[in-house]
């Protein structure tokens, strides 16, 4: 198997100025912009027609666009008759796409493969359907549940396991940290965000509330909220041995894994098979199993990992994906967050582009958005949010309600 490297990355911005014009753009515009941004990013040059294959992931609009959009993507990029594999896996789709593209390059089948993820939210789908397809349609949506209401079940279980006030304080800490990163990323949704309170004020609101009292409305009103958006991001994979022909700063994909558990939350509470024993819906089994496998493939240990781009838009996904890195001890994850160990000076800087919620939660491209940021950090091109140590990164993506996880381990050398 050949070693694989990333030699180009592309992105559509998620800042307010760009998103205000989202009514002007279709999913095809996002695909073209991100793909050609990645092609242009190949410092020593890559002609569009040098691409041999593409793996494209979407969430949303394209599901009703003639069923299969491979030929459309090949066409709009001006790359006919290039083949395009199309897949969809909610928020983790670009991670699955990267996993498949990795195989195409590592096996020797192709030498230049484009990976692209995108989401267009409302051109064709209505709000209700879009919300529905984040869960299990048969036994969740069919009985009146959708993504936010299922997330609610997860969150109250997290309260039950770890204590509500501690969970909320960790959430506040992480969101304020996301603001710090986002304000240093011109592409991020949080670029222009000014917090309505300090972290101390948010913590104080919780400290003054008993565990069984209602959470003060003021807390929710002042907490920075995730921004769900649309757009695309892309990367170009090549064999590592050829990478320096494209760029002086390739980033190497040394570990990659994708694992599934049940899409239905209640099944995650009861799935009597050995590999999933000991995990419940708050543990997100797939993220642990995929991280372990990716670490093993990359021959990386937790102490080697220097930063992380996780699926951390929800506190219920931050806790398990952070635990899965094994950098904090599993039972100390909330303390790790509260101690600012995920911040710029912490042991494991996390979500350095603003995080998925602060950069702009973009279902079809969440994973490739994280890869984009990791590559910038490893090249030393992250500007005001540049990390001092950015040699080994773990990227984690999540699907739906903890349904599956993709994990990539990146190295700068």
């Amino acid at each position: 198997m050949r070693r694989v490297a990333i030699v180009g990355i592309g992105m559509t911005p998620r800042n307010e100025a760009y998103m205000r014009e989202s009514d002007q753009r279709s999913w095809k515009d996002y695909v073209i912009e991100a793909a050609y941004d990645a092609i242009d990013d190949v410092k020593k040059g890559l002609a569009p027609r040098d691409l041999e294959y593409a793996v494209v992931n979407y969430h949303g609009e394209a599901s009703v666009e003639a069923g299969g959009i491979g030929p459309i993507v090949s066409d709009i990029l001006g790359l006919h008759p290039m083949g395009v594999t199309v897949l969809s896996a909610n928020c983790v789709g670009a991670g699955v796409g990267m996993h498949e593209a990795f195989g195409l390059v590592a096996s020797g089948r192709y030498d230049r493969v484009l990976v692209l993820g995108f989401d267009k939210r409302w051109d064709l789908l209505n709000f209700g359907d879009k919300r529905a397809i984040g869960g299990d349609v048969d036994y969740d949506f069919q009985v009146g549940y959708d993504h936010p209401t299922l997330q609610g079940l997860l969150q109250v279980y997290a309260y039950k396991r770890w204590g509500r006030n501690k969970v909320l304080k960790a959430m506040a800490s992480y969101r304020m940290q996301a603001v710090w990163w986002g304000q240093r990323n011109p592409l991020a949704a949080f670029w222009d965000v000014r917090p309505k309170a300090t972290l101390a004020e948010l913590h104080d609101l919780i400290d003054r509330t008993a565990e069984d009292e209602d959470v003060p409305a003021e807390f929710w009103a002042k907490l920075p909220h995730n921004v769900a958006l649309e757009g695309a991001s892309a990367m170009i994979l090549v064999p590592a041995e050829e990478a320096k022909a494209y760029t002086d700063k390739p980033v190497y994909v040394d570990g990659i894994s994708y694992k599934c558990n049940a899409h239905l939350l209640s099944k995650q509470m009861y799935y009597p098979t050995p590999a999933l024993a000991g995990f419940d819906m708050c543990d997100f089994a797939a993220s642990h199993l995929a991280t372990d496998e990716a670490y093993e493939m990359a021959e990386v240990k937790p102490q080697d990992v220097e930063f992380a781009e996780l699926f951390e838009s929800h506190i219920t996904s931050l806790i398990p994906t952070l635990a899965a890195t094994r950098v904090p001890e599993a039972e100390r994850v909330l303390d790790f967050i509260l101690d600012e160990e995920t911040g710029p000076e912490g042991r494991l800087p996390t979500g350095t582009d603003g995080g998925r919620g602060g950069f702009g939660l973009t279902s079809g491209s969440n994973f490739s958005d994280g890869v984009y940021e990791a590559v910038l950090q490893m090249r030393g091109e992250a500007g005001a949010r540049q990390l001092k140590k950015a040699g080994v990164a773990v990227i984690t993506g999540m699907q739906g309600e903890m349904a599956s996880a993709a994990v990539a381990i990146l190295r700068d050398r």
């Binding site: 709000f127 009985v143 079940l153 109250v156």
Partner: protein, 153 residues
């Protein structure tokens, strides 16, 4: 009635009458499966055992009693418009996951006929059949919901 959307029922693209009909035994009777090879119980039912991969499975009707495992009232952080077209019993929808004596969990599901302030994890509940929504042909679709074992007032 949702005050934000007082107009008539909205039709979701992913809801289909045939799907609802196909799953009627699950929704009316909590019919799942039991693996004859390893005796593992599964809810929802399945054709291949997730533990031993046997295809020798049979119907198993799960208990209609259980206990409330977790619940919320839909307003954890900010107002989320409810999924339109579904019946809401009472002023407040109580969203829940229920644990059955067999060890399996059912959820998302609804706790009904219970004042919101009386809902608490561990509450003993039993299954009832309630209207979920109207199907595309106008018929009512029914499904499981849960009420307190002891009436709460």
């Amino acid at each position: 009635m949702n005050p934000l959307f007082p107009e008539g029922l909205y039709r979701h693209g992913v809801l289909r009458t045939t799907k609802a009909w196909r799953q009627r035994k699950e929704r009316y009777r909590l019919l799942g499966t039991r693996c004859r090879a390893c005796e593992t119980l599964w809810w929802p039912g399945r054709k291949v055992c997730g533990k031993c991969n046997s295809r020798d499975v049979e119907d198993h009707e799960f208990s209609h009693q259980g206990e409330l495992f977790v619940h919320h009232q839909g307003q954890l952080a900010w107002y989320v418009p409810p999924v339109q077209g579904f019946e809401v019993y009472g002023d407040t929808r109580i969203l829940a996951m229920v644990k059955l004596p067999e060890g399996v969990y059912v959820g998302g599901t609804d706790l009904v006929d219970c004042p919101p302030e009386k809902a608490r994890d561990g509450l003993k509940v039993r299954m009832v059949l309630r209207k979920l929504r109207r199907e595309q042909n106008g018929n009512w679709q029914y499904g499981y919901m849960w009420v307190p074992e002891e009436p709460q007032s």
